[in-house]
Every structure is written in C-alpha cells, then in structure tokens.
C-alpha cells in the first residue's frame, strides 16, 4: 500500500463510498441530492482549506467554529443596524483576520503551543459572540437579495457556495504550489530550524497561515449566516473538528509539511458523502457523531501507519 502514488487511497475511498451510497439509497444519485452534498462540501471545505494551511506548518486552529459564530452574530447585528452589505462583509472578514492575528501572534512570536493558544481563542471568541447576541439569537430581518445569494442562492442551477469554494480552492492551490510563500509553508512544516537557517522568516509564515485560516473561517461564517438568516452564537459548534478531519482525511500530515488542496477537497467530499449516507439511511444525529469521531481516529491511525518508522 505504501508504494502506491499518494492520493490513491483517498480516490479509492471516494469511489467505494459513491457506489455504496447509490446502493444504499436510490435517492443518492438524484441531482438535487448531489447538489446538496456539494453544497455541504463547500461549506465545510472552505474551513478545511484554511485548516490545511495551518496544519501544513505543524499547527492547529481550534477557534474556527467560534469565529463562524462570532461572524454570524456580528453580521446579523450590522445588517439589523442597516449597515450596507459590502461594508458588513468587510468588517466580518476583518474580524476573522483579527482572530487569526491573535492566534498567529501567540503561536509564532510568543511560541505558545498552537493547541493551547487556539483553544483559548476558541473560548474567548465564543464568549464575544455570546456577549454580542446577549445570550439569544440575532434576527437581521429579511436578508437583502444580494447577500442571500451567497449561501442560499443558485447560479446556473448550482448553489453559490460551490462557486465560492471552487474559487478558494484555485487560489489556495496556486499559492501553495506556485509561490515562494507556499514553498515556505511546506519548508516550515517540514523542518523549522532548517527553514530558519535557509533564511525563511519562520514567525511571519506561521503568523500568515493563521490569518488565512481566520479569514476563511469568516467567509464560511458569512455563508452560514446567509443560509440560516439568523445570527446564532451557538452555531458552528464542533466545526473545528470537522475542518481538521477533512484536512487529515485528505492526506494532510499532522506532523506538518505534507498535504494538498486537492486532497482536502477529496476529504471534504468523503465526509459529506458519509454524512449524506447516514442521513439517507435515517441514522440518528447522535449515532452520526459516533461515526464521525471514529472516522477522525481512523484517518489519523492510517496516516500514522504510513509514516516510516526508524
């Protein structure tokens, strides 16, 4: 198994899942269901891409779910106050970037372990969301059409979030594969000391990936807000695990330096199809959590098995 090209396992798993799903339920291959699955892929995939950047540097970002909630609540409040949509979107993206800055600053310049730093942020950011919403939910009123289209609309018969995801993936793939910055990310994740001695500004690279992750979390938060039409400080719970799972299933190594955008896209599809099968088969949401947890452990175990031992 170790001699097969990278990604073979993932592609195989996808094919098996698609066949299994179409056997389990005749509804799976229904175009409406397929588009639903793809919308799901897009919603979580955007977070998975951000997480991939962070994990490539050997980091982790546990605060993305909370950022989704904070952005949702803030966006709803701003719309309720009549702030123009473009300005509201900019502010929300800035909030994501700010959370990323705080994470990145702590991890890169103060050398706080990423797990601890982002765990702290996860709790703090969720707290801010609660404060803004004052414990309840925020109703922004009827969404303006040009904002509703972001999460709930269609273009040429395809849900808009899929386009957004596609654009994010293309940009991310170009950055990782075709820019010096992308190379620096892989270098830092493979060997931080060697990266430093090669003249790479290691703290700046680490700082940047958390900002990228925060911005993508904010983008994802806006899509959720547009879909739910309500700002809920309890939304996005556990999304960070979803994002990590997607990245890891997609072949991103938790030890850093290994992972691709294409893999993460595949990871998002695997997870969305599994969720869809479970839904179609009428499995309860609680049992679904058990399955998802098991998948995380399995994905990490498989990855550990792939690592050469001394």
């Amino acid at each position: 198994m170790k001699n097969l090209p990278r990604g073979t396992g993932l592609a195989g798993a996808l094919i098996v899942l698609i066949i299994a799903a179409s056997l389990i339920s005749p509804h799976f291959l229904n175009p409406i269901n397929i588009l639903n699955v793809l919308r799901q892929v897009a919603l979580y995939g955007i977070l998975g891409i951000g997480m991939t950047f962070v994990i490539l540097t050997k980091g982790i970002d546990l605060s993305v779910g909370s950022t989704v909630a904070l952005v949702g609540v803030t966006g709803a409040v701003l719309m309720e106050q009549g702030v123009p949509i473009p300005l509201m979107v900019l502010i929300c993206i800035a909030i994501g970037a700010l959370v990323g800055c705080v994470n990145g600053f702590g991890v890169s310049y103060f050398r706080i372990p990423a797990f601890i730093m982002t765990l702290g942020c996860m709790v703090m950011v969720r707290g801010f969301a609660m404060m803004i919403a004052d414990g309840g939910t925020v109703n922004p009123g009827k969404l303006a059409d040009n904002f509703f289209v972001l999460g709930g609309g269609y273009m040429l018969g395809v849900p808009t979030p899929i386009y957004v995801f596609a654009i994010v993936c293309i940009i991310a793939a170009v950055v990782l594969s075709f820019t010096p910055f992308g190379r620096a990310i892989y270098a830092v994740g493979s060997n931080e000391e060697a990266a430093r001695l090669s003249g790479i500004n290691v703290p700046l690279v680490i700082f940047s990936v958390y900002i990228i992750c925060g911005v993508l979390a904010a983008l994802s938060g806006l899509i959720f807000l547009s879909r739910l039409s309500v700002g809920d400080p309890n939304s996005g719970l556990g999304l960070e695990l979803e994002a990590i799972t997607i990245a890891v299933i997609g072949g991103t190594s938790l030890f850093g330096g290994e992972g691709t955008v294409l893999g993460t896209m595949g990871g998002a599809m695997v997870l969305a199809i599994i969720a869809n099968i479970l839904n179609l088969a009428g499995v309860s949401p609680f049992s679904q959590q058990v399955v998802k947890g098991a998948i995380i452990v399995l994905a990490v175990l498989l990855e550990a098995g792939r690592k050469p031992r001394k």
């Binding site: 820019t179 270098a187 493979s190 000391e193 001695l197 090669s198 003249g199 790479i200 330096g257």
Partner: protein, 495 residues
C-alpha cells in the same frame, strides 16, 4: 579457549544503505583489538550492535561461546559487554559513586547505604589506579576523569568486554598514557577484552594486539598489529593510495572576503577573530566542545552574538539572523544535515531550490519549468544519485543528502561558504566528490570557504590555512600546507 566475543556474518541495513556486510571477527579474553575505518565505514553501527541498541539483520553474536539470540541493551550489559561512547552518557548532576553504581546502589532497607556505596566505588577506582572523590559531582570532573568513571562503572558491572569509542580524541597526551596503562593492566591482569576504536593509527600500533579494518561495512583486514605499517592500514581503510584522498590544490587567493573580530558568545566563545579571503579554504579545527560550530553559527547569524563584529568585503555587516547573513552572501552547511539542513520529507528539487526561489519567479509565480532545468543541472553537476528530482530526500544516502545541501548553496550563489563537518557520515567516494566541489568553488569561482571539521587529515589535506580552537579561544593560526598533526594537536588538546 572460548572466545570472549565472536561475530559471524553480521549484516545490517538501513533504508538505502548497507551499513554492515558480513562482518566477522573474534576476541579472546585479555585481547586488545583496534577497530579502524573511515567515517561511515560502519564502526558506529557495529558498536551499536554490540551494545544491543541495534539488532543485526543477519549474522550471529556469541559471548563466551553462548549465542545471543535476542540482544537488548540491558541484556548485553548483563552479559558483560560495556560500550563507552565518545559522548559520555553520564548524569552530570549525580556523584561519582551514583554513576559508577548506577542502577545497583547498595541499600539498607529502603534507603541507600552511602557508606557501602563509597567503599565499593573506591574499590574499583583503586583498581584503576586513579584518584577521585566518590562524592564529587560528575559535571565538575575533567573529561579524562569522566572516562575513568565510565570504565569504573563497567568494572563495577563485571564487564568482560569493553568497547571504547575514540577515547583519546578528547584527551591530552599524559591522559592518553594513563588510559593506555589502565587498558593494558585490565587486559593482562583481569582478562578484560577490549575493542578500541580510533582513527589515530599511531595508537593502534602502540596499544593493540590485533586490528580489524572496516571499509564500507565490510571487514578488509583482520589480523595481528605486528608487521603492519601505517601505509598498509591507510590503504586498506580508504581502498587506494593515500595521495588520492584529497584533490590537488592550486589556490588563487584574492581580497579579504570575510573578517570576524572579537566574536564572543555567552556560553563559550571568547574574543575569537578569524578571516578568510576570496578563493581561500580555511580550516577550523578543535576537539569536541572547542567552539567550531558555535563560531560558524555566530558569524552566520544563527545564534545571538554577545560581542564582535563581522565585515564582508571590507564593509561592516550587521548580521542578526540567517536571513541577514544570506543577503550578505553567506551560506551555511549546518553540522547536522538531518535536523538543521534538509527538509527530509520533501523532494530533492524542493531542497535544492529552497534558498533561491527568487530566481525562478515570473510575475509572482514560480516557473516549474525553469526550476526543473536548474535542479536537473545541479543533480548532474554534483552527481547526486537519486532516481529523479521528485524523490524524497530522506531516501538518499548521507553523501547524496549532503550534496543536496551543497547544491542549495551553489544555486543560491553564496560567496562565503561556512561548512560545518561537510563530510560527516559520508562514504568515501562521495567524500572525494564533496572535496572536489569545494575546491572547484574556491579555485574556479573564487568563493571564500571556511571548513570546520573534527577530522584533522581533512583540514590538513584540503585547506590553505587553519585556525585551532580550544575551549572557545583561537590558540593558533597555522599554514595548513606545512603544519603536522602533532603541531595542531599540541594547540588543540586540553592541558
């Protein structure tokens, strides 16, 4: 008489390398056997097999006629094998007695019986004929005494076979004499068998009864030391005439390229000044802990400097980080390529280009076509043996990995090359190729090169000039073409 130790057909492979191929020899009680060979010949692998740290893929180990089927470190110690490494594995905060009796301190009830511990320690220490306070902390002792403590520890465990890894490299002549006296006495009177690893051939003749020469993991010679000459030994170690080890030099030396003045670091370096000119190869020699690596890293900006100035091409340069060093034309081959040099999980191409990506950027994006061209050119020029540019660097042999580090610096077009142990753990053939490259860079391209090495022949064979370091200070600046090993060791050894 049964052999104390008999090895038959020991073979050990690591991914990509056969470290040992069918190694066989035996050791009688009371025998002193020298084990010689170049770096990478397999000495340390063999030593780790003897200590039980590695297990052999094939072959048979017998101790006193009994086959060792499942060697473990604890098992080998219990069977009387003691391996004393060059980097002594001691607990510096513990006392001599605690080290000597480690794991077997005498107890009275639940408490340690310190009186008995001291008495037992003194017993073995007296047997070795040296003087040490059993309650002294190890960290306060000289290296020579620490080695004696290690030997005492081996004796306290009733070791019958003691493996010594280059013990003399860190000792002054008087200390070496004392060590030899102890080794001979233990061999003659107590029948302890020794495997003595050294690359000082003079010692081989002075101390050993028999010699085993390893080259590229194979035993080249096994026999009594009597009747051998130094030339015989070197020939069997390197596999060719001595003159071939280093390339011929025709130095073309120009202006001063780098000058470091009064470099000090909080931990070690004291007011060190060196300089190197364009086209010149300068050596830095010193024993372990003398400050070679620290000096190169301080100049390069990798570690903070306490004091000191660096000038490049005659102009003061403030170099506070590797990044700043690189923009001034410095390039570093780090001491440990695996932890500091390479991105092991990444491809050969990734590693080679990682310091010169600016060259292949077009409109903000990397041109993979140009990258392929540069990388393939360097792979060919440096004769890096890899299936292709996309292969993971971790699958390459040590020599080829080191060539990747060098290729990166060649591609980055650095002007001043600081090479820390550029041929450590590199096989003989690749070594010569690395020497050739360094000489070509200096002579044809006018690079200023500083080579720090613990291998004196390398410094003397390759360099134009050398500095000797001892305990963080420069003790001599010598002409490498005329200096002898004795001259250099005189300035390098601890007194």
């Amino acid at each position: 008489m049964t052999s104390a130790l008999a090895l038959a057909g020991i073979t050990k492979s690591f991914p990509g390398v056969r470290a040992l191929k069918g190694v066989s020899f035996s050791l009688q009680p009371g025998e002193i056997r020298a084990l010689v060979g170049e770096n990478g010949a397999g000495k340390s692998t063999l030593m780790k097999i003897l200590s039980g740290a590695y297990s052999a893929d094939e072959g048979r180990i017998e101790l006193f006629g009994e086959a060792v089927l499942d060697p473990t470190p604890a098992g080998m110690i219990a069977r009387g094998v003691a391996v004393i490494y060059q980097e002594l594995a001691q607990a510096p905060h513990l006392t001599v007695a605690e080290n000597v009796l480690m794991g077997r301190l005498p107890c009275k009830g639940a408490l340690i019986d310190w009186g008995e511990a001291k008495r037992r320690t003194m017993e073995v220490v007296d047997r070795l004929g040296f003087d040490v306070d059993p309650t002294a902390r190890i960290g306060t002792l000289s290296i020579a005494k620490r080695q004696m403590v290690e030997i005492a520890k081996a004796l306290a465990r009733n070791a019958k076979i003691i493996v010594l890894d280059e013990p003399s490299a860190v000792l002054a002549q008087a200390e070496i004499d004392q060590l030899f006296r102890v080794v001979r006495q233990l061999a003659r009177e107590s029948g302890v068998a020794f495997v003595y690893i050294s690359h000082r051939l003079r010692e081989v003749f002075e101390l050993s009864d028999t010699v085993t020469v390893l080259r590229d993991g194979t035993v080249i010679h096994n026999g009594p030391s009597n009747g051998l000459t130094t030339d015989d030994l070197i020939r069997s170690m390197v596999g060719r005439e001595v003159g071939d080890v280093f390339p011929t030099r025709t130095p073309r030396i120009g202006e001063e390229a780098l000058s470091a003045k009064g470099i000090s670091t909080p931990a070690l370096l004291k007011n060190v000044s060196i300089h190197v000119r364009k086209g010149e190869i300068v050596g830095l020699f010193g024993l372990a802990g003398a400050g070679r690596t620290e000096l190169l890293r301080a100049i390069y900006g990798a570690d903070p400097r306490g004091a000191g100035e660096v000038s490049i091409n005659g102009a003061m340069a403030s170099i506070g980080s590797p990044r700043a060093g690189i923009t001034k034309g410095l390039g570093l081959v780090p001491e440990d390529r695996k932890t500091e040099g390479l991105f092991l999980i990444q491809s050969v191409g990734f590693n080679i280009m990682s310091a010169s990506l600016a060259q292949i950027v077009r409109f903000g994006l990397l041109s993979l076509r140009r990258e392929r061209k540069i990388v393939n050119g360097l792979i060919e020029r440096l004769r890096i043996r890899t299936p292709n540019a996309a292969a993971a660097t971790q699958n390459l042999s040590g020599g080829n990995q080191q060539k990747c580090v060098l290729a990166r610096l060649v591609s980055a077009e650095c002007e001043i090359l600081l090479a820390d142990e550029p041929t450590r753990g590199v096989d003989v053939g690749a070594k010569r190729e690395i020497y050739d490259l360094l000489v070509e860079l200096a002579e044809a391209r006018g690079l200023a090169i500083v080579i720090a090495s613990s291998e004196l022949p390398e410094i003397l064979g390759l360099c134009d000039r050398l500095y000797v370091l001892r305990e963080g200070e420069v003790t001599a600046e010598l002409d490498a073409r005329t200096a002898t090993e004795e001259d250099v060791m005189h300035f390098a050894a601890l007194h």
